[in-house]
């Protein structure tokens, strides 16, 4: 098992928030999301149910718009998307304006059957117009040597 000290990357980026942008949530956006997933849950589709809220993974559609700084890892020759985790903290509603920031949360190494791998974990925060965090999305990327 390697320690973080052995991994060379731009450590000045660790925990430094980068502003990504703002996204307006519309009812049409939620409707389209529900249509594409064939969603029928009245919480997300029926306004008479007490006002719709967004399905729990709606924020994921914005993740393709998140551009992250290059942390200049000096390891491996291939990078793969390893997975993601979503934390739903407060509901998202039509009319919300979400402000998005991202930060490098951690970099760590693991050694498995195929050798050493370095994981780069980013946390992206979605907050609404009242400053309440609605969603946290953590994405992991793994760097490894192909051969």
């Amino acid at each position: 098992m390697s320690t973080e000290e052995e991994i060379k990357y731009d450590k000045s980026l660790l925990n430094k928030e980068s502003y990504i942008g703002e996204f307006n949530i519309t009812k049409e956006m939620i409707d389209s999301f529900c249509k594409s997933t064939e969603e029928t849950n009245p919480l997300f589709t029926n306004e008479e149910h007490g006002g719709i809220i967004a399905p729990p993974t709606l924020c994921n559609i914005f993740m393709s718009k998140v551009t992250r700084p290059d942390i200049k890892i000096e390891f491996g020759d291939g990078t793969f998307f390893a997975g993601q985790a979503l934390d739903n903290i407060n509901p998202i509603k039509p009319g919300d304006k979400l402000t998005v920031n991202t930060r490098l949360k951690e970099v760590f190494a693991k050694t498995g059957r195929s050798g050493k791998m370095v994981f780069e974990v980013w946390e992206t925060k979605f907050a609404n117009q009242d400053g309440l965090i609605t969603t946290l999305v953590r994405e992991s990327f793994v760097h490894r040597k192909r051969s």
């Binding site: 249509k35 997933t37 849950n41 399905p55 729990p56 994921n60 998307f81 997975g83 985790a85 739903n88």
Partner: protein, 143 residues
């Protein structure tokens, strides 16, 4: 859609599903159109583009796959709310093929007065190969 479920009715090892699901090309196009006014050729929408990226065929966007897995869990009962969902993509998910969703409850606990469940969830292909694996923490609301 199901009805409410009582926290006490759920035991570790209880399963959700299995449930068959197909994500069609039309659904992928609808999904891509949420943010894009015009559908550009990509690994999700175009066979040639996908082949040039070394894929056999266009694939389902990861965000759509995740949405389907979340939907599978949250629609099992009317009083479930997904608190967290972790997913690991093991293989590409193709369009227009039969997929199988399965969930298994692995833990239950009460935290700060909130009844919660942990559930492993799998998206498999027809050969029961796990394409995406996930773990959800679910709040069981009392109403």
């Amino acid at each position: 859609m199901a009805t409410n479920i009582a926290f006490d009715e759920i035991d570790l090892g209880d399963e959700i599903g299995p449930s068959d699901k197909m994500i069609t090309t039309n659904q992928v196009f609808e999904f891509v159109k949420i943010l894009e006014s015009k559908i550009e050729a990509s690994r999700f929408t175009d066979s040639e583009f996908a082949k040039n990226e070394g894929l056999n065929e266009p694939i389902v966007p990861g965000a759509l796959t995740t949405a389907v897995m979340a939907q599978f869990i949250s629609n099992w009962a009317t009083n479930l709310k997904i608190k967290t969902l972790d997913v690991i993509f093991r293989h590409m998910v193709p369009h227009n093929t039969t997929l199988k969703l399965i969930g298994i409850f692995t833990d239950k606990f009460t935290e700060d007065g909130s009844d919660q469940l942990q559930c492993d969830v799998f998206l498999q292909d027809e050969n029961e190969v796990k394409l995406v694996i996930g773990k959800a923490t679910i709040i069981v609301t009392k109403n």
